[in-house]
Every structure is written in C-alpha cells, then in structure tokens.
C-alpha cells in the first residue's frame, strides 16, 4: 500500500493509558464544574493554531507530509512524472506554518502527462502537477492507494477509485462523488495554491 510505511507530520503519538475524561452536556449547559469538565481536553492538549486548521489559501505553498523531508517545502521538481502520488500539506507561504491541523487539508500530489489531462482538469494543473484532497468522498478514509495502470487514486477502505487525469471523477464505487481538487500554479519553481478546493472536502453522512 502506498504511503503505508510513512508517518504523517503532526500525527499524535500512542497514548493507550489515557483514562476517561468525564463530562456531560447538562453540566456544560448549566455551567456546572466547567473547570473540571475534561471531555475535549486531549483535543486542546496541544494548542492548534487556527491557521493550521483553515482550508488552503491562495498563494499557499505545499510541503511534504511524510518521509524524511516531512514539513519541508515541496518544489515542483520533486513531483516526478509517473511516480506514485506524494502526501502533502498546504503551507502558509509567509509564515511557513503547515496547515496540518485538519485531515481535510491533506493532499495527494502527482505529476501527469499534461496531454492526458481532461479539459476540466488541465486548468487546475500546473505543468501536469495536480493536487487532490486525500479524504475520500465516500466515507472519509485517506485515499492512499494508487493504480498506475488507470492513473487511479484508490481508497484502501472500500475500494473506490478516482481518475487523477479527470478531476478525480469516480472510476469505481462505492463513492459517487469526485475527490476535491486543489488548483495549483507554479511560481519560480514553487508550487502554489491557485484557488480554493473545487468542492467540499470529505463526505456528507447520508
């Protein structure tokens, strides 16, 4: 499985011993013992900068999400034709902040033959480099698989496959909706976000 042996930047460590954190909605609503209400404590144990959770912004750069260079800028030249997709995060171009505070921001980035891109894909690609949201439109798993034969992004959970050359439209279900695409441009050899996601990332529980 592509990406199976890699560790995502920002992934939480193992903490199997953590005990329950009691909290009730009623206690919260009535303002009782709020200081002792521990439910979401783990979520705030490491303060997340809101900018790290916000969706990619126009002008953002991209950065490696996995591997030896995790967290470092991803240059266009590092995205090689016909190689398997890379995992990436958007990165604030000014501050260098990784937008790794939400799964919804994780990207699959790959380079395709520009001539093979469909008309709706080409305007969102930069010299053949395309970026798609990793989160599956079916049930929210990370679409980390790759089918070189079909240039298909494959979900390891339920087997949905999305065409990398055609705006991540569905080749095979159970997904019925495409993955969100993140339009890119290239500026001085750097990959930049050209526009926001083409559609809502993830799935609607319905």
């Amino acid at each position: 499985m592509s990406g199976a042996g890699e560790r995502a930047a920002g992934a939480r460590g193992v903490d199997s011993e953590r005990e329950f954190a009691p909290c009730t909605r009623r206690a919260l609503l009535e303002g009782l013992a709020v200081a002792g209400c521990l439910v979401p404590l783990h979520a705030f144990a490491q303060a997340v900068d809101p900018a790290a959770k916000s969706r990619p912004q126009i002008g953002d750069r991209l950065a490696f999400a996995t591997g030896a260079r995790a967290g470092q800028p991803l240059e266009a030249s590092a995205v090689v034709l016909a190689a398997e997709p890379l995992s990436a995060w958007p990165m604030d171009a000014t501050t260098g902040l990784l937008r790794d505070g939400s799964r919804l921001n994780q990207l699959r980035v790959l380079r395709l033959d520009p001539a093979a891109l469909s008309p709706r894909t080409a305007p969102n690609a930069a010299e053949g480099v395309v970026a798609y949201a990793t989160m599956c439109s079916h049930a929210g798993c990370d679409v980390t698989g790759w089918s070189a034969a079909t240039r298909g992004l494959v979900c390891p959970c339920h087997g949905s496959e999305f065409s990398a050359e055609d705006a991540a439209t569905v080749i095979r279900g159970p997904a019925t909706q495409p993955l969100a695409m993140l339009p890119l441009r290239i500026e001085n050899g750097e990959l930049r976000v050209a526009r926001g996601f083409t559609r809502k990332v993830g799935f609607t529980p319905a």
Partner: protein
Amino acid sequence: MLRTTALVLAALATGGVAGPSAAQEARPYTPVTQARLENPEPRNWLMFRRTYDANGYSPLDQINAKNVKRLAPAWTFATGLREGHQSPPIVNDGVMFFTTPHNHVIALDARTGEQLWRYERALPEDLQELHPTNRGVALFGDRVYMATADAFLVALDARTGKVVWEQQIEDYTRGYYCTLAPLAVRGKILVGVSGGELGIRGFIAAFDAGTGKPAWKTFTIPAPGEPGSETWSGDAWKTGGVPVWVTGAYDPRLGLTYWGTGNAGPWAGDVRPGDNLYANSVLALDIETGRIVAHHQYHWNDSWDWDEVSTPLLLDFERGGRTIHGLVHPGRNGYLWFLERTQEQIGFVDAQPFVRNDVFTRLDPKTGRPEYDLDKKPATGRAATFCPSLSGGTNWMPSVYSPKTRLLYIPANENLCAMMNPQPVEYQAGQLFTGTQLAMGETLDFFLHAGAEDHIGEIQAWSIDGSPKEVWKKTFKSHNWGPLLVTGGGVLFSGGTNDRFFRAHDARTGELLWQQRTSSGVVGVPTTYEIDGVQYVAVLSGWGVDAERIQGAINGKRPPEQQVQVPQGGVLWVFALPK
C-alpha cells in the same frame, strides 16, 4: 480554559436535532427497569437480543408456521439514508426506537408508524467511517442510549429525543468508533469499541446510566505485568486492536457479562508473536467491577481477520446425561463452539466445523486449542489462501436459539475463501494498520471455492444436545448477511441475500413459508412485538457496509451476467397478519 469552554458549548449547541411532535407530548412511556430487562414481557423487545441470554427468541405465536403465508406489510418508514441499516427495531410498550448509519435515532409509534421524534448526531467533518452502520439502542429508565461513530455515548430522553448527557468513550481521531448497541445492566450502560483496523487498543467500558460517569474500563489487551501480557511481544499491545464490535450477553445468576472480541492487528500474526490474549476470545466480566473473571480464546495469534464478536448465546445443553450451563458460539473461524460457564471459568466442551475450515488441523480435546496448517497462515511478505474467507463462516449477524425446537440457527457462508498477502506497516494514529489494503487487490482478495456455483449463503439448524448435528440447511446463491429471528410460533425470519428478500421459514423443517421482496437488501436484525393483541414483525432493509464489500468481491469473480448490484437506502418494514 475559557476559550476552550466556549468552543465546546458552541459544538454542543449544534450537536443534535430533536423534533418531538405534538402527539408525543402526552404519550405515556413505561420506564425500563432491571426486573423488566431480566424478565421482559412477551409483547416487548427491550434490548439488542431481546433477552440477556442473547437467544434472539420471542415467545409470540400469533404469527405461526400455518398462517405466516398471509403476512403482509402494515406500514413502512424511509430513513432517507444510505449504507448498512443493521439496527433491531427495539420496542417498549408501543414505542419503537431504531438507529441508522451516521447515528440517527428514530422513535416511532410502533403500531401506526407515526414519527415521535428523531435525533441526528452532528458528526465531525474530519471523521472517517470505515463501517458506516449502527446496531441499535439500549433502554434504561426513561432514557435511550446510543454509542456513536465518533466514540461518544449519548443518553436521550425517551419521550422527547432531547440529549440528557453525552460522554466521550475515546478519541475518534485515533481510530476509535462504536457500531454496537449498548447493553444496560443494573444501572450501568456497557459499550465496546470498534477500530481493530486502525491500531486501537480495545476495551469494554461501563458508564452510570443516570449521569454518564465512567464506572469501569477493561482493556481487551493486558498491559505489561498484567495476566496475559506474556502472550504479547514488545509494544504490540499498545496498538494491538482486539476491538469489541457487538453487544455482549449477561447472566443475572452469576453477575457476569460475556463479550466476544475481535482479532489483533496488524493482521499478520508474525508481527505480534504470541497467543495475543484476549483476541478472538469470549470474556466473562464481573458486572460491578469489570474484572476479567474468565476467558476462552477460540484461536491464537490470528492471521485471518476472524473476529469472534457475535453475541455469545447463553443456553443449557446436555452431554452424557448432564445438563451444562453453556455458552454457544458459531465462530467466524467456521467452528461451532460449545463451552461451559461457571462462576469461576469458561470451560471447553466440544467444537466442530460448520463450514469448510482448511486451517485448523486438530483441536486439543481438553482445551479446544487448535493446531494450524502453517501453509494456510499468512505472514508478512508471505501470501496464503484460506477458508473460510476473512468474512468468516458467519460474522456479526446474530445466531438464534429456540427453546421450542431446541435448535440453534446459524446464518452461514460456505465456498467463499480468501488470499491475504500482508505487507510491513507502520503505526500512524487513526490510519489503517492492517498490513493489507481492505479493498480487493494484490494484498487481499476473495476467491470462490468449488461449490460456489451452487451456493454461498446458508441458514443452518443444529441440535445442541448429545452429539450436535446439522438438522436442516437452506442454501442461497447469494452470500448471507442476515441476522435471524425465531419465534414461539415456530417461524424463523431472515433476510441477508442480495435478491432483497425477507423470508419466513418453518423453524422445524426449514421449509420456505413466505417471502417479501423489499426495497433494498436486508441486513437488519428482525424483531417482533405485540400491541393491542396484534403481533408485528419489523426489520430494516438497507444494504451496505460489509454485505456490499463482499458482494463487490464476489462480483469481481463472476462474469458480468452474474454480477449483482443491490440498491441502497434504508426502509423500515413492519408486517402483520391482515385482519
């Protein structure tokens, strides 16, 4: 901390939708007591398996083997949702509660189908749902309890659907989620966690029914130094899986609750040397403390994804003239296990295959411990084929037992095998930690064994006394993912096939007595109840989750003209005899 609190309040304010109708305001509701749970009125279905012994039997007999051919739909209800609808319609004195995928709870007038209220949990947008399903509610007092896909336990007011409290069970971003119906026992609400494919450390936990306060939490994998920890190596225990997918049973006489456990992860056993207690086991827990009093491990160091999670059936059977207080478990590993329960232990009695198992070469006659054909045991970088497939000889679908026929009924799958080719995998929080893809391909695939052209799905009926034997068997070309219901009227109800039928069989002979083609495939637990002298049978039709996954795998092995697409969309069907 102030900012934190504000965020939490904002999140809770949007956390659910309840819409009681005017008709509901004055409607009486009968509180559910411990006495009622231990001895439910024949007219009601108050918990996942109806009774604590998990026999799945209702004594109602207005609908019987003679008249069931006249059974007809009384009313239906569309949920408006896709994916696997597996919840039993649970009924308490005329009020019905069931759950849907993505954690809606729907309360209906069980006689007319009028909606009383609906709760819709607002699930986090970054949630992944590996198994988009939910298997129902628990009732206690005047509350309704649901365990959610984002690993919360929610208590709702049974009259209004309003949230009374909610309690986090674990952190969904680390792969924990819930699919089971909680179990209400003596003022506690018990749950277990799913996430065996995502590197969790499984557990069963109890919460105070009134307040949601945690009562106890028992891990299914011991920590270093605890009994059983010697069956693990290194740090594998921290992310070793052993989830708890399905509700347990309870014996009020012994004060013990019995739960099946899933397999360990990653899937290839060579990366976690040892027996890996308490994977693939049944656990007996003290209801007051959660202490593990006894266990029986069906098979050690699993490498086939054979979770043994279906609810164990507590029933007495006879061996050599002796009545044994038993525990019966039709295993995903394809063996039918007969065990003996005492205050102190779970003992092996006997076991035999009910479908083809080409992995076990022998069982120890005293302990039941299997020996393996190692060529059939996948290991990292070493593919192996095996039968039954990872979906098992049976799966989560409840088997049932009728005290009238003294027969055990098993929804089974035969002639379906698998290939697994595990690869090295590194733990990453909340991500797949199996070592194979779950989609069919080079690391995992199903294949059809000779015989599959005749059938895959089965319903088997077994005698339980003396030397247990298969008494009758029905076969289906389709795989069978259908939970069962057996009644005092001598009728066995089941769906589970890809032709969308819901069927009634004669419990004694297996003869098909009635069938109704439904809106989708039936993977829900059927229940039956009585109001004003009328017996109803209720079941959700709503194909999805693993039934669909396996259909996809089978389609991949069959020519196009034999491939089946099952439409999705949940509909509750309620049947009765015409007046």
